[in-house]
Amino acid sequence: MSLLRVESVSRRFGNLVAVDTVSMVVEPGELRAVIGPNGAGKTTFFNLISGFLKPTAGRIRFRDEDVTDVMPAKRVWLGMARTFQVTEIFPELSVGENLRIAVEVAAGYRLRPWVGRDADAALRARIDELLAMAKIADKRHRLAGELSHGDQRATEIMMALALKPQLLLLDEPTAGMGDQETYDITQLIRSLHRDHKLSIVLIEHDMRVVFHLADRIMVLAEGRMLAEGTPAEIAANEAVQAAYLGKAA
């Protein structure tokens, strides 16, 4: 059973076809990168998968269930979690509270007016575990909005991970980061994939990151799929080289 099956989806905005009949199959445990020049439709494609936008044509299946018309919150319940290109966290709450909300929702407590002592201890343990995994335990009492860009991104990824997703969608996880931060986030993603066997789809601009991490790569250009394959195949693909060099020239 494939984890995610995107079948010929398109998305129009008026006359602009941002995504044009793109298909993609992601297997369990796979780390898939989606790359392409600016304006290739990567983020729109991502928004279709996560339910932020609805496709104008095509179907999306997740764990054999048709989720094309399913609202974002329900896709999350089915096991899909995402991060955004511009980090989306709760800026005026502490890092610990950010994670606590995610952990509580994941535990199915979102409507509970109180938590018992045992449940509370379990929640705390889970928060500690997530903080340690992202190496931000020392910042748990800081306001999330005051953290460095890299730590905010790590917080966001951990909030997504708190949901125990089957599939993690990362939209440009290293966007706007310095070398050290990029390295740290790359290590974090790699450990989620290798050690926690998490299936991940990510959009990325930084080619070092992509070729370092991805099992398979899909290339989008002008809304269409240009190529798909292993990192070695993509590196050798002439159409891909032309698309990137053509843009640069």
């Binding site: 974002p72 919150a73 999350v76 709760f90 606590r100 909300i101 979102r110 509970r112």
Partner: protein, 316 residues
């Protein structure tokens, strides 16, 4: 300034509220003024459950407040001379109206939401204003009085004893405020904070945002109508202006004035509002311009309200 311990501050507030009828006279106040502060505080704190802790601005809370007011007045005048029955009817009316209207408007955001809450609020105002032979129209609903509460073993004379009324109001205030406080510290309450902080993130954590806003709205409006029933008791009168949009505006002013990010902020805001109103209106008819000026200064220089100033000082 010394760091304010939260628990000590709460304990101090409760102590002051418990003893208010006794110390108010030292500062040239009177018990009914204290009762008014408590009633309007409850309304402002209810509004703030939605405004400050869910991030949703309502300009129509007077509608639910007013349903409480008229629920009490109409019940005692026409149905049953019982204070508790009036309370039940008023709160139930507010709850039902909030549940239905909330379901219709909960998808709207920001200014659109605020505008629609005004519109629905005005509907209730015009009903009270036009339906002369039942509601008394523009003259308001008079010809009824609050009824002493008979508990079987004892009788609480809220009609003849100012302090008894104050403590009834304080009891209702305490129950409502404690429930709201407990909710805000619960997983459910934290989903509301999440929505206030970042709706997109909340949605992609799997929180059905509209449903949670609806719940917050209904809780907020229901407690506001409880405040309305108490307001009717205090005045022995139901005024159509209690339903009008400028009354909603007063609640927003109280919440923002006191500090909408702090739980006790609206209590401070309501106290300042009521005391200024009481004092300044005895000096000049244009008391609202003084409050308006004060409000503008607070918003310009202390956007977190009066409690926000104290908190910032104590954090240093």
């Amino acid at each position: 300034m010394i760091k304010i311990d939260k628990r000590a501050a709460s304990a101090l507030i409760w102590l002051l509220l418990l003893t208010m009828p006794y110390w108010l006279v030292w500062v040239h106040g009177y018990t009914a003024l204290g009762t008014r502060v408590m009633v309007l505080s409850l309304a402002a704190m209810s509004l703030n459950f939605l405004l400050g802790f869910t991030g949703v601005l309502s300009f129509g809370h007077a509608a639910y407040f007013g349903l409480g007011v008229y629920g009490m007045g109409l019940t005692i005048k026409y149905l049953l001379p019982s204070t508790l029955a009036g309370m039940a009817v008023g709160v139930l009316a507010g709850f039902v109206a909030a549940a239905i209207i909330g379901a219709l408007i909960v998808r709207l955001r920001g200014v659109y939401f605020a505008m629609v809450t005004i519109a629905f609020g005005q509907v209730f105002y015009f009903i009270a204003y036009r339906w002369n032979n039942v509601t008394g129209g523009d003259d308001g609903l008079s010809g009824w009085r609050r009824v002493p509460i008979d508990l079987g073993f004892t009788r609480v004379d809220i009609l003849g004893n100012d302090k008894a009324l104050y403590y009834l109001v304080l009891l209702c205030f305490a129950v409502a405020v404690t429930i709201m406080w407990a909710l805000l510290g619960s997983p459910f309450g934290r989903t509301l904070l999440a929505i206030r902080e970042n709706e997109r993130r909340a949605r992609f954590l799997g929180i059905p945002v509209d449903r949670h806003i609806w719940l917050s709205w209904v809780i907020s409006c229901t407690f506001c109508s409880l405040a309305g029933t108490l307001y009717a008791l205090l005045n022995n009168f139901a005024d159509p202006h209690d339903l009008r949009w400028d009354q909603s505006g007063d609640f927003v002013i109280m919440a923002v004035l006191g500090g909408m990010r702090s739980f006790w902020g609206p209590l401070i805001g309501a106290a300042i509002f009521v005391v200024l109103q009481d004092y300044v209106s005895s000096q000049t008819q244009n008391w609202m311009s003084i409050i308006g000026l004060f409000f503008v200064l607070v918003v310009l220089f202390f956007p977190r309200g009066v409690l926000g100033i104290l908190r910032r000082e104590s954090a240093r």
